[in-house]
């Protein structure tokens, strides 16, 4: 028996739609939010969404619909056909890709994650206990367990299905109102999920952050831990979107083939990573995803494209649709060769920063931005932490930041949380000459 998305596709093509992609998302998610060492609420959602792309003579429509029953489907299809016909042709139209595609097989999905529900509370309890044992007074955070099935059918003959499951914990420990530490544990398997470790690390950073002092504004060499470096790198990879490039909302616009970063820096989008938090087999156009090098040894190699942006750029799709805006799936920064335990020694004198938040741009095309440094931030001399610091911000330029990367450590951390929404795998990094500012009035 045909499923809803297949029925919708048939109805659309029967009524004159020339091209269509219909995707059904069936998503279940449970979560526990907590603060002051106890749950504040436990939540659960069970959601089904039908997404439709349709085109007739280069007239294009994109829609998303919920509570779709058989009766309702008639009305939706009528509306979609009418809207598509009434839309003017767009010069940005690109035909849906056709061909014989080879899709990766053997993706492993941990289905046990789907059934966790109230067991999430015991994982939360573990993380809170670990922070307390590390000396923190209290903890806050959220733990998600997510499961989704995506089913895609297209007028080009595709019929695809992919399943996803992940468990992610974002944990923040407080040793005082000013002394905080944050850590995450994110995994596509229960074996790879370690709430105790996240709680312990957050607790240790919080305790080390006690009694922070103000420092002078200026240029500092900085050692970035995984959370803050993931924040920077997810921004960098996001700016490779062909859509942002074409509307000049990226510092990478017009720079293919140019050196834009340190020789130490190689970033790729790698949805083919087995067990990756952003592992993906096909994109929103049904094209197989691929590993795409964005920056190779500091040189900008590729933008991320869907069919539309590729056509405009005279390039090929990289399997990163979004119908309108392509985007990375699973960002990976190539690790360096310095042992992580030697990174502070390599830094010598400067700042060790563990997290950042609230990055905003004055100009996307130049990359001028600032971001708040939060949680553990430390002044370092002779490779050793001297004291924690507070009230600072990085006020710099994103291309300058990536050009000044001097060392990368040899280990990758998977990061995904409120501030880093695209899964990002990063080492830790030493960045020279970072501009640090602080507020007037402290």
């Amino acid at each position: 028996m045909a499923e809803l998305h297949e029925k919708a596709l048939k109805m659309l093509t029967d009524r004159g739609v020339e091209e269509a992609i219909v995707t059904l998302y069936e998503s279940e998610e449970s979560s526990v939010r907590y603060a002051n060492n106890e749950p504040t609420i436990a939540l659960s959602e069970d959601i089904s969404t039908l997404r439709i792309y349709s085109s007739i003579k280069e007239r294009c429509f994109i829609g998303s619909f919920e509570n779709v029953s058989e009766d309702f489907l008639e009305k939706i299809v009528d509306d979609v056909v009418t809207l598509t016909k009434n839309t003017p042709p767009t010069p940005f139209y690109a035909p849906l890709p056709r061909g014989v595609f080879n899709y990766r097989v053997g993706k492993r999905v941990e289905r046990r994650i789907r059934q966790l529900d109230e067991q999430l509370v015991s994982h939360v309890s573990e993380a809170i206990r670990a922070s307390r044992e590390a000396g923190a007074e209290r903890s806050a955070g959220i733990l998600y367990s997510s499961h989704m099935v995506e089913k895609l059918a297209s007028s080009t003959g595709l019929s695809l299905q992919e399943e996803f499951a992940s468990i992610t914990l974002n944990h923040r420990a407080f040793a005082s109102p000013e002394a905080t530490g944050q850590w995450v544990s994110c995994s596509t398997s229960l074996e790879g999920f370690n709430p105790y470790e996240a709680g312990r690390k957050a607790g240790e950073i919080a305790v080390a952050s006690l009694n922070p002092v103000l420092i002078d504004e200026g240029t500092y060499d900085v050692y970035m831990g995984p959370l803050i470096f993931a924040n920077m790198m997810s921004e960098v990879a996001g700016f490779a979107s062909g859509f942002l490039i074409q509307i000049e909302m990226s510092f990478m616009t017009g720079k293919i083939g140019q050196r834009i970063g340190s020789e130490k820096l190689t970033i790729r989008d790698d949805p083919t990573m087995p067990g990756g938090l952003g592992e993906k087999i096909f994109d929103d156009e049904g094209i197989p995803t691929q590993r795409t090098i964005i920056i190779e040894k500091g040189v900008l190699r590729n933008y991320l494209h869907n069919s539309r942006t590729a056509r405009l750029a005279g390039a090929s799709s990289t399997g990163n649709a979004g119908i309108i805006s392509p985007h990375p799936w699973n960002i990976v920064v190539e690790p360096g060769n310095v042992k992580e335990e030697n990174m502070m020694q390599k830094l010598g004198k400067g700042l060790y920063l563990t997290n950042s938040w609230y990055q905003r741009y004055q100009n996307y095309k130049t990359g001028d931005f600032s971001t708040i440094v939060r949680d553990g931030a430390f002044y370092v001399e002779d490779g050793e932490v001297k004291h924690s610091v507070k009230g600072i911000r990085i006020s710099d330029n994103l291309q300058r930041i990536i050009s000044n990367i001097e060392e990368l450590s040899d280990r990758l951390y998977p990061i995904k949380w409120w501030e880093v929404t695209t899964p990002t795998y990063v080492p830790t990094a030493i960045i020279r000459n970072v501009r640090i500012t602080k507020a007037f009035g402290y």
Binding site: L43, S44, D46, T90, S125, I128, N170, W357, Q362, S370
Partner: protein, 477 residues
Amino acid sequence: MEDIVELSRKILDYAVAAGASYAEARFHSDSDSGVALKNGEVEAVEASYEVGIGVRVLVNGGLGFASTNMLKPENLTRVVDKAVKMARASSYLKSSRICFSKDEAYSVDWRVSEKKRLEDWSLNDKIDFLKNLDKAVISQGVNVSSRYMGYSERRTRRVYANTEDALVSALVPRPSFFALITVADPSKGVIQRTLQFGGSGGMEIVESWRLEEKLGSEVKTLHKMLTESVRTPEGVMDVVVGSEVAGIISHEASGHPGEADRIFGREGAQAGESYLKAEDLGRKIGSEAVNVVDDPTIPGSYGFYLFDDEGVKARRKFLIKEGRISEFLMNRETAAKLGVKSNGSARASRYSVESIVRMSNTFILPGDHSLEELLSGVAKGVYVKSFMEWNIDDKRWNQRYVGLEAYMIEDGRITRPVRNPVIEITTEKLFSSVDAVGKDLDFVAATCGKGDPMQGMPVYMGGPSFRMRNIMVKGVG
């Protein structure tokens, strides 16, 4: 409507039978449609329909929430079972029971009317409207190297019911517009601007934005700032900010820290906590010239509502009164902790998320100065009319605003344009430096982000121009 009310009653009865001491059901649908132009050509026409139910329950003092968009009867009992199960689970580790403030239960249906109905505006009309705006942008004799703009509408319907006999239904249409504009010059580089407009109502709201005139003027200003601005002289000086900057200050430095859930630590791992503590009502935070309110009842505003998502009647709240912290933004949970009634600040962005404490229309109250009077008292300073980059720390104490349209003030008059003046300042220093407030109240629409999962919420931010004495101004770079 009657079906939904009946269904709500059944859901609530079922929840109580399943062990809930309190339950609420919120049906929530959002119908969206929009069109975007890239460099003057239609990029895409989009539409979406989100509809579902969220059920929140209290069991053994623990809160549980469950949602679904599959509205078959068997799913509705399952969603209640799930909410109860989650509430029970969340109660296991609790040291104290969650309870809600005692608030009046209303039975009411409120709607925002459209003087000119949005549905009478055809897709082609909307495309023509955007194309005219695009023409206004590119016909100023300025090199606009890129522009992306979009118009969209959202029609939100809600039916809220709880076991304390509240029954509130609502209908709000919200038109909105955004633009991303890049102006280039061969020798000076590029300058960029993001703009957002929004309101509640019909076409009359869109017309009130006077977009053609504003966009044209904006492009000319961007060109002037790009080609004529000089480096901002650094140092301690007087600063006059325009309404747009006053708005973001009121939102970030008064609104967010005044959210009681942040004060109690409930957003601790994400958007953070607050410089304020529960005992800080009455604390002096600024000069007597500073008055900040949050008011959801402003007709036509983007953050408009008359009853919140806990069924509590909305009203104006004084966040800062004559320089002192006056009231927090509260939902029923935080109000109970403070031993008072809710002031109607609970909102949920969609059916699948819990309601949390949110701002609506937050603004600095106007004073009695004209802009000329504010400037006339300044021997040397900076006038910052608009901004691009900004951020603030998670206690809402350490903030930064980087000017976009900005000028030197010399001997009481606006003189040369200056490039990207930076105000990086603590909240107390900022509000304490205010010595005069203008009467030119205005608002900008914005989408405020908070919560985990993230909830984007329509708000106004606003205020009049105001003057700060002797604060540090820096330049970029």
